[in-house]
């Protein structure tokens, strides 16, 4: 309890400022200073959020989004790490694929939706593949970078001690590139969320993005805020959860994404 008290004293502004803001918002909407049609009171939003949760609507949409992110991330991770490692190890492959990737990567992934729809059956699969595109490139890039930035001396020392082929790979190259790979996975997961919400807005009737857009179209403003809150929460959990996981699993790593 005393530790909590001290923590609270240290973070009083960080804890207090959102509370003050929420209070001010509540008051301004209640007194009509803010138009309630655009800025419903936080308490009203909370009630709507509870309703969405109680009648199951929210869980259906949340589930759909999470399943899509999960599949897309798995697809991007397996292919991205695999191809990234291969590109890091074989120069020919790297030099061949680099220019191709460099052109495709900066294209905003939502634009791949039509293209993917031509390639695979439209519907759920197309949504998942589109969501995976940008994550894949990010993961492949960071993995390649991870292999390439390993100290040459370390590799040489390992070969002198007789590590070759598979052993060299599992004992030196893979661990050496792990921090970079993890950063790529983290960024990739974040991007998957960004893309899936956009794709859901355009082309699906289920998922958090779809719920958000539908709430806008029928002007259920409170539901819009509630959905936004849930999306933000998913983003925060994915982002900070993985950062914490990385700090625990790879404590020696200085995050390359933060530079």
């Amino acid at each position: 309890m005393r530790r909590f008290g001290r923590w609270l004293a240290e973070h009083s502004i960080a804890v207090g400022s959102p509370l003050v803001l929420l209070g001010a918002w509540e008051w301004a909407s209640a007194t009509g200073l803010l138009r309630e049609a655009f800025f419903p009171r936080p308490s009203t939003i909370a009630v709507h959020l509870r309703q969405l949760g109680a009648d199951g609507t929210l869980w259906g949409h949340l589930g759909a989004t999470l399943v899509r992110i999960g599949w897309a991330f798995a697809l991007a991770a397996v292919l991205g790490v695999g191809i990234g490692l291969a590109m890091g190890l074989w120069r020919g492959l790297r030099e061949g694929l680099d220019p191709v990737f460099a052109v495709i990567y900066p294209i905003p992934s939502i634009l791949f939706l039509p293209l993917v729809g031509f390639l695979v059956p439209p519907g759920e699969i197309a949504v998942v593949v589109t969501t995976a595109v940008t994550s894949f490139f990010l993961i492949a890039f960071t993995t390649t970078h991870g292999v390439r930035q390993i100290d040459r001396l370390v590799v040489e020392a390992a070969t002198h001690y007789g590590a070759r082929g598979w052993r060299l790979f599992t004992a030196v190259l893979l661990p050496g590139s792990l921090p970079s790979i993890f950063t790529g996975l983290r960024l990739g997961l974040g991007f998957a969320l960004i893309v899936v919400v956009a794709v859901e807005i355009v082309s699906t009737s289920r998922g958090l993005g779809a719920l958000l857009w539908l709430s806008w179209q029928i002007l259920k403003v409170e539901d819009m805020y509630a959905t936004f809150f849930v999306i933000a929460l998913v983003g925060a959990v994915l982002y900070y959860g993985l950062a914490a996981l990385q700090a625990r699993l790879l404590p020696w790593v200085q995050d390359v994404a933060d530079r």
Binding site: H11, I13, P106, T142, W216, F228, A232
Partner: protein, 241 residues
């Protein structure tokens, strides 16, 4: 390798191994691209997207860098503002679009602000990171040589944070492009993103791929160009993502 891939695509499409309706030959797309550029409508869409991007970037960069620097210097401000930045940063900014559409009405301000929001948070976070991770010895040395207040800021803090600020601006520009193209795809009635959407709906695939290629070229130019610029301006800095 890219040439080989294009040649393979060309052949597959010409020989109808893949449906030419969905995958027109690259030469067809190239012809359409030149054609539409000459006709001017593709160029017009490109200009619309570029104008939005420039405006969104300016709206994000100036307040973003300022806020990031202030947060880095003034601790109470950081404590007060950081929770919001941290909460909104991982949110897909496209989710802000319906709010802006409601508040500002359907139109340019809402589109541009969605793009600006996308860049803003990245720029704030990078700038703040740049100030916070600077070598404390630099500050001490500055102090010892009598630099205080504004002088300390201009001579020591700002130069030390510059590489991070530039990285933030570069990443921010990329994010703004992504958000804007998505906004155009979803809601706007102009710009390259909308062009891809419209030609997708009409299944005029060569035009769709032409607009698609132009977005790719734009993205490539921005990412490569800024990276080269960063390497030249801040040549002492290590290459990073």
């Amino acid at each position: 390798m890219p040439v080989a891939l294009l040649a393979l695509w060309e052949m597959a499409s010409r020989l109808a191994l893949v449906s030419p309706r969905y995958f027109p030959a690259p030469t067809t797309i190239g012809a359409v691209l030149v054609d539409r550029l000459a006709a001017g409508d593709l160029g017009a869409a490109l200009l619309v997207t570029l104008a939005r991007l420039g405006l969104a970037f300016a709206l994000a960069a100036v307040p973003g860098v300022l806020l990031g620097l202030l947060m880095g210097i003034a601790r109470p401000l950081r404590a007060a503002v950081e929770p919001y930045i941290a909460f909104v940063f991982p949110v897909p900014k496209i989710a802000l679009l319906p709010f802006l559409l409601i508040i500002l009405g359907v139109g340019e301000p809402a589109f541009v602000l969605t793009g600006a929001a996308s860049a803003f948070f990245q720029i704030v976070i990078s700038t703040l990171g740049g100030v916070r991770t600077m070598d404390p010895r630099l500050l001490e040395v500055g102090h010892n040589y009598g630099a205080h207040g504004a002088r300390l800021f201009w001579k020591v803090i700002l130069p030390a944070a510059l590489p991070a600020i530039f990285t933030g601006l570069r990443l921010g520009l990329g994010l703004a492009l992504i958000a804007l193209v998505a906004v155009e795809f979803i809601a706007a009635k102009s710009g390259l993103g909308h062009l891809v959407y419209r030609h997708w709906q009409m299944l005029s695939t060569p035009e769709m791929y032409a607009a698609f290629a132009l977005v790719g070229a734009l993205g490539l130019l921005l990412t490569r160009g800024l990276r080269a610029l960063q390497a030249r301006l801040l040549s002492w800095q290590e290459e990073s993502f």
